[in-house]
Every structure is written in C-alpha cells, then in structure tokens.
Amino acid sequence: MPSFKDVFEKYDWEAIKTDIYNKKAADVERALARTNRDLEDFKALISPAADIYLEEMARQSKQDTLQRFGNTIQMYAPLYLSNECQNICTYCGFSLGNKLPRKTLNPIEIDKEVAAIKKMGFEHVLLVTGEANKMVGVPYFKKVLEQIRTQFANVSMEVQPLDEADYHELIPYGLHAVLVYQETYHQADYAKHHPKGKKSNFLYRLETPDRLGRAGVHKMGLGVLIGLEDWRVDSFFVALHLRYLEQTYWRTKYSISFPRLRPFSGGLEPKVEMTDRQLVQQITAYRLLNKDVELSLSTREAMKFRDHVFQLGITSMSAGSKTNPGGYAVAPESLEQFEISDERSPQEIAQLIKSKGYEPVWKDWDTALEYVTK
C-alpha cells in the first residue's frame, strides 16, 4: 500500500540541510513576495537567512491567520490517563527505565478529572497516555471514550500509534482527532533516542498518519520534538509530510504543534537549543506555507512568550495543563511527564486572549455533527 514512506525515502537529510543553509536573502525575499508558496520557499523561510525578515514573516503570518481563522483562539486541555509506558525514550519522564510510581486512571478517577476539567470551562479535551498496549490499549480507550464522550464537544487522543483497524474501531466511540509526533525524521538519531519498545520502529510511526487517513479520522496532528535534531531540517520534513497528507487524505484536517524539550525527571539535555526567535520563525514559516493548518501552542512555553506569540499564527492553546495522570483532582502531586512553564489558570489565559482583542473559543465542535453507529 502506498504511504509517506515512499515519499520520505526520496529525500536525503544532509542534502535538505545543505539546501536550507545555503538559502540567501534573495530566496527569502522571493518566498515572502509569493502567495502560493512551495517547499523550496519554505526552506528559505526556515533558513538562517530568513532571520532578518522575521518581522515581515510575523506580519504576514498574523494577517493570514486572521483572515482564515478570525479573531479567535481555540482552548483545550490535556487529560493524562496513564503514565504506563513500555518504551525507552531518552527524553521522556514516562520512559520505562525511569523509576516512578505508575498510574492508570480508573473510571471513578476519570470522572473526577473530567469534572475538574469541565469546571475550568473546557469542551475540547486531549487524552494522553504513555505507550503501553497491554495496560492502555484499544479496549481501555473504548471504555474511556464511552465514559466521557457526552461530557465534551470534542475528544482528541495522543497515545501510541495504532493499527488502521484500531482507529476504525475507535472512531464510532467518539474519537475525533489523533496527534502523533514523529519526534524526529532523522532516522539514525530516532533509533538512538528510542532504543527499546515498539516505538523503536521508525517506519511504523512514520506511517501512522497514513493509517489515520485511511481510517477516516477527522483531524490529525503532526510535529517533532524540538531539541532532538536540527529543527530546520525536521521542520522541512513535517511540511513535506503535511503536504503529502493533504493531497492524499483531503477530507482530513491537520494541525501542527511545536513541543520544545522541557526538563523532566532524569532528563536529557537538548542536542539543539531553539531560541524564542527561532520558534517564532518556525511558527510563522508554517503559516506562510499553509494558510489553513491549525497551529497549537502548549503550556510548555513561558508566560511572556505565550502572551505575544499566540497572535502570530497560533489557532489553539492549552491552559492550566497538568501532565500527570490524576493531576487535576485525583493525585496532584504525582510525577509529571514534563514541567510546564505557564501555570496560569484557563480563566487568566482567556482574559489575556480577550485583552488582545481575540475571542477564546471553548467549543468548536459538537457530537451532533458526527452521525456514528457502533
């Protein structure tokens, strides 16, 4: 079956890197002047040469985002269901090798967490687990979806990659969107960071969006973990992947996130530091390439940065996030996946959004829009 793997294999990491680093000011100016930009333009926009054009990139990005999404920012909260994980990932607090108390929420605990999240006003929830098929596999997800579906307008999931048949099975239970980050598209480095567990299978992960597309999930989220490899090259591969997916699975909606490596228990120092300025360059470059992709900003980022950057291309934000299972109401002190930077309450974030002339949108979907039969 054709997949992104066929496209991916035609590209060479080092060649792309050379291309990007060789871009000149004239290439950036040409990219900025165009309206329908291609991947060559994108290379220019994420190149070091684009740095001095950041203000113009931000201006265009803001304008394009306003036109397509209006003066609105969608709000969502993550719900960590489990920190069980069968993988070793060098950068993650949930890694199998980390000695930490493992916890998977039961139905009563889930109810408590849901009530806490609802009380904060959220209607869009992102279910998160570690990658442990036996403890938190399809049967568990089905039960959770069945339990919470009527509580939220929209349910997304960020869990281990599943088979196509699994996604088919979960959609009728109310699964709307799936986020799956490749972590890095650098295959050799990917192997170094994922030495053990199912996640070590680079290609299985790479082809997950294809399985999601074939299964007909409404929305999927892409991204890399910034800090593992050269962010400029990884960004190119995300853009390449997005373009392929949009052309292949044209009924699906897409989002991109920009997780930067954050401190955690027993953590890895980022190989590559990305500055705030570079993150703005990356966000605006995605917008300049693609006017319609949703761009999401999490609480990993610092307060001051979030206050300003959300107006430059972002369409959705999390707030008040807890990254540990039971973090909202059940076990607030349990070990979190990573430290969050912006600890303000959702209401504070909503107030900030309003003060900048935007409307925080808590609900932008309804189960009434999906006729599903199990």
């Binding site: 036109q67 397509r68 209006g70 609105t72 044209w250 002339g357 609900k363």
Partner: protein, 254 residues
C-alpha cells in the same frame, strides 16, 4: 427596495450575516445591529446545544437564527445534525453546508443534493451552500431547497465574485432566491452581486476581521441596498462601441 421572500418569510434586509471570527460577542452584536440584517447564521459546532445560556446566541439577539452544519462531511451527518439543531434551537431553517474538504471548505455537490432531498421531505427550510454550478442549483430547486447559495470564491478568501459567469446563469435560471455566499470581501463585491440580480448576499469574514466591524457592517448594508436599487432600476446596457449617429441601415427607408 422590494422585500426578500425565502420560504414563507419576508425580509426587509437582503444581507445575511455569518457569526464566526468575531473577536467578541459584543462586537458581533454591534455589527448585527449596524448591518440591519434579519438573519444570522450560527455554526452548530460553536453553540452549546444542551445549554440554555450561550454567549453567541445571546449576541444574535432577536434576529432570526440560521443554524449551519459546517463541519459535517456527509448527507447522513447533515441530516442528523439538522434534526439535533431543530430540537435544540427550535427552528426548521437550516443552512446546509457539507464540505468534506477542510482546507478550502468546498461543498460536496453529491452529498448536498442527497441531504436536501431528505431534509426537504422532513420539513426543513433548506438553504444549501454550493459551488456556482447552474445545473446543481436547478436540481436543488427541484429537490425542495428554499433558496440556493452559490459561492463567489472560496470561504474567507475575500476574493470577490470569481464565479461571475456561472452566478449570472444561476440568477437567470433560478425560480428560488439566489444568495451569493462566500468570497465577498468588500462592499463593492456585494453591490456587484446585487446589481446582477442576486436576491441576497451572505457576508462574514469581510466584516468580522475588518478594523471596525460595526462600521464595515454598515458599509455592507448600504452597498447591498445600493446594488439592489440599481438592479430594480434596470441598469443601462453596456456597449462596446459608441452608437453611430448616422445609422448604417437608414438608407432602407429613405
């Protein structure tokens, strides 16, 4: 200016407003008032169907509500959503939007026709959003659509009437009102649609994202009225050449 009649309802205004993209409900409310519209579309996905209080519905105020199905991908989903909306919002009016393509939000003609047939049978006042396809518009009319809503350009693009030639055919052929929807980015675009004989226009992005939505809403109100008045006054024909003062055939009667 003549009134607009859709199904069994008469409207003084020929401007329909979309309610997405505003920076806050207060501004939306002010724009609605300034536009003098009598019909506002609200996306089902943004409304709290189960709740009595909803900021967006409150901002719409006493103006008639037109729920839309933005987000559905099939006729079956659209019918399901329509029934939920009728129950929750107490209206059988529906802007039918079926766009399986989330990028440009282009409407699916096949699913739209199928849904219109079924919804009309179920007693809905169906206002389908479609591409500017004259044949499809006639098929929708036969299926029981209360009006047709062909696009001028992709949603939110502000590009104006890119489908002009086809809109002209649709307007010429239609026995139900033609509401030009999507792409109208400036009052002059709205006026142009009205001058052509469109029965109404629907505007959202151009107002909501403007620097002053209230003033822009008023500008659109005036443009729609001016365009309609011009249409009703019958515009003069456009000639490529000046009319000869000495007609070439005058010798025949000489």
């Amino acid at each position: 200016m003549k009134n607009l009649k859709i199904a069994n309802k008469v409207f003084n205004s020929r401007l329909i407003l979309g309610s997405g993209k505003f920076s806050n409900p207060g501004l939306m409310s002010a724009a609605i008032t300034a536009s003098a519209t009598e019909l506002v579309t609200v996306a089902l996905k943004r409304v709290n169907l189960g709740s009595e209080q909803d900021d967006m519905l409150e901002a719409v105020g006493s103006v008639d509500l037109l729920p839309n199905t933005s987000g559905v991908r099939t006729a079956r989903e659209a019918v399901f959503a329509a029934e939920m909306a009728r129950e929750a919002l107490g209206t059988n009016w529906l802007k039918l939007e079926i766009h399986p393509d989330p990028k440009y939000l282009l409407p699916d003609p096949v699913e739209t026709l199928m849904a219109t047939i079924e919804l009309a049978k179920k007693g809905f006042v169906v206002m389908p959003y479609v591409h500017a396809d004259p044949v499809l518009c006639k098929r929708l009319e036969e299926a029981g659509a209360a009006c047709v809503m062909p696009l001028g350009a992709p949603i939110g693009s502000n590009k104006g009437l890119k489908t002009l030639d086809f809109l002209q055919i649709i307007i010429e052929q239609s026995q139900v009102p033609v509401v030009v929807d999507a792409g109208i980015g400036a009052p002059s675009h709205a006026a142009q649609a009205m001058e052509m004989g469109a029965d109404a226009v629907l505007v959202n992005t151009a107002i909501a994202v403007s620097g002053d939505p209230e003033k822009m809403a008023q500008a659109f109100k005036m443009a729609v009225e001016a365009g309609r008045m011009a249409y009703e006054s019958k515009l003069g024909a456009i000639a490529d050449q000046a009319q000869a003062s000495s007609p070439l055939t005058s010798f025949i009667d000489a």
